[in-house]
Subunit: 138 residues, 2 copies
């Protein structure tokens, strides 16, 4: 399996663990030696393994843990780091996510997750309307 | 200047170009050989240099281009890639941003920008209240 496929597999495992509320698998996904961070939708940035894993423990244990799946994942390998951008599908809403991985002991581990909402009235890049950004913050 | 300082300088230059509506400097900031992407607040992901630079051209030319500044920037160098997480301050609102850079010909160039809003009722990590994530999407 090439690097890009391995990164996409790690990204898929993140969403499998999330949807299955598999806390042990979620913990194992995150990097150990590299500083990690996480920006949940609408949250401030969490920095450091303790804060990030605690947030996942709470989310996966909570009644509100969503039925989530990942779509349109694209990976770009940047040496020993790799970027994945994907859509997160939840009941009634789609989010957009930036996921960043690093290679630790030959395995791709997550170092950063940033998910956020998409405004419904934003034109898609392939729409006819130009994207002026008017009405958005930038 | 060490790598981390260089990355923070590139990040600062991004916000300087943004605030000054300096389109030429904004174009020069983005990577040329590495695929780039950008997620403006509430937008879907833009992929590829043409789409990303076109979005910046429109934003910087628009009447709605905000007075923006960057705060609390922290950089993590991951080999030839580097992650910056920072707060974006705009009039009346703060956003959170993930900025990703790569080294191209010895200079740190932006390959990805993801900015999104923060809910006002989300506890900060150092608050007393536990962060349950209840009411948020995850």
């Amino acid at each position: 399996m090439g690097d890009e496929e391995q990164v996409l597999a790690a990204n898929a495992e993140f969403y499998r663990a999330f949807a299955a509320r598999d806390t042990a698998a979620m913990y194992a996904l995150w990097a150990v030696r590299t500083p990690v961070a996480c920006i949940h939708p609408g949250w401030r940035a969490l920095r450091g393994r303790e804060a990030v894993l605690a947030s996942w423990r709470d989310i996966l244990a909570g009644a509100g843990a969503p039925a989530i799946s990942c779509a349109d994942a694209a990976a770009h390998v940047l040496g020993d780091a790799a970027l994945v951008i994907c859509t997160e599908r939840l009941p009634g809403v789609e989010l957009i996510a930036t996921n960043l991985f690093v290679r630790e002991d030959g395995a791709w581990k997550m170092v950063h997750h940033h998910a956020s909402g998409m405004a419904r009235d934003v034109a898609e890049p392939d729409d006819d309307e130009p994207e002026s950004g008017s009405g958005l913050l930038h």
